[in-house]
Amino acid sequence: MTPEDHLRAFLARAPYIRFLGMTAELAGDELTGILPFSPHLIGNTMLPALHGGVIGGFLEMTALAPLAVTQSTPRVHKTIDVTIEYLRPGRAMTTYARADLRKVGRRIANVHVEAWQEARSQPIAALRGHFMLAED
């Protein structure tokens, strides 16, 4: 299977990813998570702004996606912990995120993810997390 195949399989696997409407693209070894805006993602109707949980869930899926590509097994990697920092309101527009695999050990991976909308230099949120790698 190619990296693209692994990514497609990851995105197709979880019904929750379809619920979010999330996609992702690979450019070489760089993976970008993409979350098109949809009204059901709103958490604050006055601003309006994306729900904090939506941003958190999207960041977490973007952390898991490159692990699914590089550490491919038929089983799912499990989240141990995440810390999400909210930097700016997520506006009613497409959100992008990119993960940085800081350390991939034998059993545990440490991943940082940053999300942005109009400009990558102005991130809306960041996530740091530990993930338990599934064994074959």
Binding site: T45, G53, T79, Y86
Partner: protein
Amino acid sequence: MSDPNPNLAAAAAMATEVPQAAALGFQMVSAANARGVMHAPWREDLVGDPETGVIASGVVTSLLDHCCGMAITAATGERRPTATLDLRIDYMRPAAPRAGVTVEAHCYHMTRSIAFVRAHAWDADPADPIATAQAAFMLAGPVGPGTGGAA
């Protein structure tokens, strides 16, 4: 102990009308004494791993974040706009297959501008959590000159 405030209950119930909360089917259980309890029923389209049928962690993230907001409402007695500053979640274990999730959040300290909240999530037994969380929120001030914008 008791806090039978119908206005508070109504304010808290509005939390389930937020589009993301409605899309996930969040149900309010209780809101009183700086604590909020909410439930997210299991649904096929919210599953994280179809092999196990376990609800996605992203749903738990949304419920934790949302319920923390409701605990702040239960602490202040009114719905004030809040912005999440940070949210730390530890996942103890996966939820049971085809199980919904319930969260209790407690706003244990509040300053004029910041609320500190702890929460835990469980599937069957509150004493056997699937996840715990710690969060800080910024409170929008009372509406007045120069306030009200989240940035």
